[in-house]
């Protein structure tokens, strides 16, 4: 028998160490130390109800366990085999205690559909993929469904594009299929460029066959025989695994001519991106594949009419494709049961930033931010205060505590001033300055703007300059006004999706963290201590013992001795010359006496 005790940060803070200690002690007292092993585990992600204790092999899940409960668990559960009911997890819906953790709602917070094979199969072995039902969706399409039925099924499933704006996938396929001609293309957008998002990479690395299969399904549905994957050159492993998958599929006759004896031909080629975020926009992506600068063009014409080589083309992103085979095999009706009213299925998020369980998660649409951050993500690192969560990368916005109970789907995120984007989710705590975060994203957009349209090329640069002024302590209230006007115009008048969404990080922080902007402008203060020009390093004369380590660490020779010797100290204390200080923080990290602080 095993006792698993959560050692995650949250539980650790609430005495899990003491609980383990108690278990060990009491089990030893009862002479059970050889039969029952106590282990500390990683975070269960259920910190809200921590500390957690799980008894194996019967999967009993105790929540909010206190050190003094240990004796009862040992006596009742371990010795007598009776579960301690009042410590069991209580289902909030029916107010019943759940004893087997497999039946807990908590475990259904995450549902892996797009990631269904990631971490299960060997991505370089097509047999394992077939053993898990790979290519059965394609087989079903080719033998039991007409192309129109495939389009209808995908449309009915309610699947929407996972790359950003959430256009209904089936409708997109249908639009392309209408322009039937000899040469059509299925394009997989694998140019995952959102900083902080890596789900597409993970899918390609973990389950490349699902992409190959889905592209062939799409080809069958719209009448295309050519598939192209536009993939970032920065993803060598994903490229390798896709190449292996394509070669294996060809060998098995699942790509190439006369697939599964049905007369359907389809093959896939890879095209490499070259480091331009804007190429995630489909028209820019197509231009890049054609060997041009990746500049977007105005839509219409849509790629469905005039895409790659001016031929009808259908562009979907990796995660969208990953959902397709399972929709075919399990049916649109099944898929529809998952998710929220207007957004069906699940979404993969790359959970990153100041959160304990950084990782790749997949949740049904409609899951709240709170569930993701506190139940799956294990809460904020170091027990600090949650401040904001950024979704949608440079096109998205920063949401705050008041949005924690928002059910995430395409529409609710847009309503909250952010967007789904490709699924980056970066959690921030009080050490992040929201003005600096807005600036960070704008720097990104400025660097990645293609330069074609004036609002994005010049407008974003001007916004960045205003933000520079503000973080340097030179901002005025008029600047904030100008920032809002510029943001509105860029949103309204820019050419492509990148430009139109680029002001979102600024607008959302202006909306949700107005006070912080005003503090920077009026009080010349950065509460997070991030904006260097607004900071002042000071040495507490009475704490300083005059060891001089800070002066040694200081690269700017800004620290010198004073004449003041504090009571009980032998050496004179140090002081910082604010005119020389470059605010690098080297002095603080070296001070063992907590004598230096940032004001």
């Amino acid at each position: 028998m095993h006792v698993l005790c959560c050692g995650g940060t949250g539980c650790h803070a609430s005495a899990s160490a003491q609980i383990i200690e108690n278990f060990k002690q009491i089990l030893a007292e009862k002479g059970l130390q050889d039969e029952v092993q106590v282990v500390q585990t990683g975070c269960f992600g259920f910190c809200e109800k921590g500390p957690i204790v799980k008894i194996m092999p019967d999967n009993t899940f105790y929540t909010q366990v206190k050190p003094e409960d240990v004796e009862k668990i040992v006596n009742e559960h371990i010795i007598k085999g009776r579960k301690v009911t009042d410590l069991l997890y209580m289902d909030p819906e029916n107010q019943e205690h759940v004893s087997d953790s497999k039946h807990m709602g908590f475990y259904r917070k995450q549902l892996r559909i797009a990631l269904r094979n990631c971490g299960f199969v060997n991505p370089e072995n097509i047999d394992e993929c077939i053993a898990r039902g790979g290519y059965e969706g394609l087989g079903k399409c080719l033998t039991e469904m007409t192309p129109q039925q495939v389009i209808d099924e995908v449309t009915k499933s309610g699947l929407r594009g996972r790359g950003g704006a959430g256009f209904p996938t089936g409708v997109k396929w249908g639009l392309c299929a209408k322009n039937k001609c000899d040469e059509m293309y299925v394009i997989c957008n694998a140019d995952e460029g959102d900083p902080g998002a890596f789900m597409d990479r993970s899918i390609m690395e973990g389950d490349p066959h699902s992409i190959v299969e889905a592209m062939a399904i799409c080809g069958y549905a719209i009448g295309a025989t050519h598939g192209l994957v536009y993939i970032r050159a920065e993803y060598p492993l994903a490229i390798h695994r896709l190449q292996v998958a394509i070669a294996q599929a060809r060998e098995y006759g699942l790509l190439g001519n006369d697939i599964m004896g049905t007369g359907f031909n389809f093959d896939i080629e890879l095209r490499y991106g070259a480091g331009a975020f804007v190429c995630g926009e489909e028209t820019a992506l197509i231009h890049s594949m054609e060997g041009k600068r990746g500049e977007p063009t105005f839509k219409p014409p849509f790629p469905a009419v005039a895409g790659y080589m001016m031929k009808p083309s259908n562009v979907n992103n990796v995660e969208t494709f990953a959902n397709v085979p399972i929709i075919i095999t399990k049916g649109a009706d099944w898929f529809q049961t998952i998710g929220s009213e207007k957004s069906k299925g699940t979404k993969v998020f790359a959970l990153a930033g100041q959160i304990n369980n950084v990782g790749l998660i997949e949740v049904p649409m409609g899951t709240t931010l709170r569930d993701i951050i506190y139940e799956i993500g294990g809460g904020i690192k170091g027990g600090r205060q949650f401040k904001a969560v950024q979704t949608g990368g440079p096109s998205g916005g920063c949401l705050t505590t008041k949005h924690l109970d928002t059910q995430i789907d395409y529409d609710s995120l847009v309503a909250a001033g952010s967007m789904m984007g490709s699924g980056g989710m970066v959690v921030m705590d009080e050490t992040s300055c929201m003005v600096a975060i807005a600036k960070f994203y704008l720097e990104f957009t400025c660097e990645e703007s293609c330069g074609k349209c004036s609002p994005c090329r010049i407008g974003n640069k001007r916004m960045l300059e205003i933000l520079d002024k503000i973080t340097d302590g030179r901002g005025t209230m008029e600047d904030l006004q100008e920032l809002r006007n510029l943001a509105a115009v860029i949103k309204d008048a820019a050419l492509c999706g990148l430009g139109q969404t680029s002001p979102n990080p600024v607008l959302s922080t202006l909306d949700n963290f107005w006070d912080e902007y005003v503090e920077h402008v009026v009080d010349k203060k950065c509460r997070a201590g991030v904006c260097k020009k607004l900071m002042r390093y000071e040495i507490d004369k009475d704490k300083c013992i005059g060891c001089g380590k800070c002066a040694k660490n200081c690269p700017a020779e800004a620290i010198s001795k004073t004449n003041y010797i504090a009571e009980g100290h032998k050496l004179p204390s140090m002081e910082i010359d604010p005119t020389k200080c470059i605010k690098c923080g080297a002095c603080i990290s070296g001070c063992k006496f907590n004598a230096i602080s940032v004001k």
Binding site: A276, R293, E295, T297, F298, P300, C446, E447, E448, S449, C450, G451, K452, C453, S454, P455, R457, I458, G459, K461, R462, E465, E482, N485, L486, V489, K491, D492, A493, A494, L495, Q500
Partner: protein, 595 residues
């Protein structure tokens, strides 16, 4: 037809009409900046990049308002669409966009060559911009110039018109957008000097640039200095296309013919001899026509010869084939262009005749062209370093000179050109329009070859603004197959065809680099994309031709006289020496070197 409502005006438009064009139909002028069209010449630049023409679509195809503002130039009308072109939201966006563009612009309007002709300036004025609320970094690039084109890309607004011209229309490929974001700009590869690139100095980038980023190299002061130098005899020649466009600079209707006023103005400016390039155009026909007949006869005799013969009057075109078709250098006519023939005649025959030393004569040309500035500087057109043509001015520079010298062109009495290099025929006049050289050559070649008068001298099939034309002319039983094109991309297609064995069997092909021929030249008054202006200049050209008493080059009495007196016969020994040239391989080569 589909129904749309723009600013509450209901109109019906053809499917595929953009909001911009529909609005213009309804009498609503939506401002544009990057958008540029030469209707009828298949040139359209609509990157949808400047965002000046944005409008609010309050009702889209789905009955709902469109989320973002739509670029009028690139958005097609759909049934039932409702559009506002001046709602507060539109005006604010449009003004902000122009303010943003101005915030990255030097704003040195008073000194800018483009002042008064600048589309950005006009726009700022129209929108009533009084201050630029954004202060920030401005892009700076080094200035660069060829002998014809000046680049000051600090002023570039990234409309991409020049890039489209240089690549799509001319297939020269000297210019491309480079870098990205705020640093994006149009430039030659590696930001090298334009002069070292594949640029052929056609200058069409200058003709379409909405601002002062691309301008011409101004030679006015050089010419003024020569005029005011008492030791110099200054001879001027004016190209055929100048007389049908110059008037525009003085408020006259496009297509007004100002030949007589132009001659008078030149005299007032102080030129010692006012001659006409039309005269040397007649001479060109004599040389080129003879060369053509020579090659055709050789061909008919089964001898090896280079057919088709390409015209070589257009220096942009000459530069283009030297850089791109080094294997076909035998095909173009060796006859010099009219400008250079004039220069050669002036500094040899005429200088001798009036007893002026070559070094003391300055030949100035007034041209519709920027490439002529580079042509006259070519080494092979110099004798001991002294060029046959010293300075080439454009129509625009000429207009500036007239204004500078307080000459009232509108009220100037008409005067004639001087003799002996002043008299010309209708065949020379039409050199200015696409197909003109061909028509003029046919008028002469036909009669010389057949010995019979040409029944109908108006060769209508090669006239008009079509980019590529072909026709067969019956030379008394010999079908002569001719082709005419303008725009170097069209010329490239023709050259590639010839390289592939000339399957259409052309004997003679006329090539002009600029849209519509010289009348659409880069040195002409800015047409701002109004191809009607070019059409009117063309009509004026043919009007002038029709009104001439003599319309065939070989009937020009001064031409007949000079052969009798000086050159002997076309393509004779002396004319080969003075009136013909040769071409050089100027293509790029790879050379292997050590590691």
């Amino acid at each position: 037809m589909i129904n749309v409502t723009i600013d509450n005006k209901h109109i019906q438009v053809e499917p595929g009409t953009t909001i911009l064009k529909a609005a213009r139909q309804a009498g609503i002028d939506i401002p544009t900046l990057c958008y540029f069209e030469l209707a009828g010449m298949k040139f359209e630049n609509k990157p949808g990049g400047c965002r000046v023409c944005v409008v609010e679509v309050v009702k889209d195809f789905n009955g709902k308002p469109r989320r973002n503002l739509a670029p009028a130039c690139a958005t097609d009308c759909v049934e039932g669409m409702e559009v506002l072109t001046h709602s507060p939201r539109v005006i604010n966006a449009r003004k902000t966009v122009v303010e943003l563009i101005l915030s990255d612009h030097p704003n040195d309007c008073l000194q800018c060559e483009k002042s008064g002709d600048c589309e950005l300036q006009t726009l700022a004025q129209k929108l009533g911009i009084r201050e630029i609320p954004f202060k920030g970094a401005q892009s700076t690039y080094r200035k660069d110039q060829t002998l014809s084109v000046m680049r000051d890309v600090d002023k570039c607004v990234m409309c991409r018109r020049c890039e489209t011209m240089c690549n799509t229309v001319q297939s020269v490929g000297a210019l491309s957008a480079i870098n990205r974001g705020f640093n994006a700009v149009v430039a030659p590869a590696f930001e090298m000097n334009l002069a070292e690139s594949s640029c052929v100095n056609c200058g069409q980038c200058v003709q379409v640039c909405p601002v002062g980023a691309l301008t011409l190299v101004d030679n006015i002061s050089d010419v003024m200095k020569a005029i005011n130098d008492p030791t110099k005899t200054v001879v001027v020649q004016t190209a055929p296309a100048v007389r049908v466009a110059l008037g525009e600079e003085f408020g006259m209707e496009p297509g007004t013919i100002v030949t007589g006023k132009m001659a008078a103005a030149l005299r007032q400016l102080g030129f010692d001899y006012v001659f006409d390039t039309d005269w040397s155009a007649d001479l060109t026909i004599m040389e080129e026509g003879t060369e053509l007949l020579g090659r055709v006869k050789k061909f008919l005799n089964g001898e090896k010869t280079a057919l088709p013969l390409f015209t070589s009057c257009c220096p942009g075109w000459v530069s283009f084939y030297e850089k791109n078709f080094p294997d076909l250098l035998d095909y173009p006519s060796t006859a010099k262009s009219p400008q250079q023939m004039f220069g050669a005649v002036a500094k040899n025959y005429f200088a001798q005749k009036i007893g002026v030393k070559r070094e003391d004569m300055v030949v100035v040309s007034i041209m519709p062209c920027l490439a002529k500035k580079s042509e006259c500087a070519r080494d092979e057109f110099k004798v001991n370093g002294n060029p046959d043509v010293d300075f080439s001015l454009t129509t625009r520079e000429f207009a500036h000179m007239i204004k500078q010298c307080n000459i009232d062109l509108n009220n100037l009495p008409e005067e004639d050109f001087d003799s002996p290099l002043g008299q010309s025929t209708g065949a020379a006049v039409i050199f200015g329009a696409t197909g003109g050289v061909m028509e003029a050559a046919v008028r002469t070649a036909y009669e010389v070859y057949t010995g019979k008068p040409l029944a109908n001298i108006d060769l209508e099939v090669v006239r008009g603004l079509e980019g590529m034309k072909e026709a067969t002319v019956d030379f008394n039983g010999l079908p002569v197959h001719v082709g005419v094109c303008y725009g170097l991309a069209n010329a490239r297609k023709m050259m590639e065809e010839v390289r592939n064995g000339n399957p259409r069997g052309f004997h003679f092909i006329e090539v002009m680099a600029c849209p519509g021929g010289c009348i659409g030249g880069a040195g002409q008054p800015y047409h701002h994309g109004n191809s009607d202006i070019i059409r009117k200049r063309m009509e004026a050209t043919y009007r002038e031709d029709a009104g001439k008493p003599i319309r065939k080059s070989h009937e020009n009495p001064d031409i007949i006289a000079i052969y009798k007196e000086y050159y002997g016969e076309p393509c004779g020994h002396l004319s080969h020496e003075q009136l013909h040239t040769h071409y050089f391989d100027k293509s790029q080569h790879v050379e292997a070197c050590g590691e």
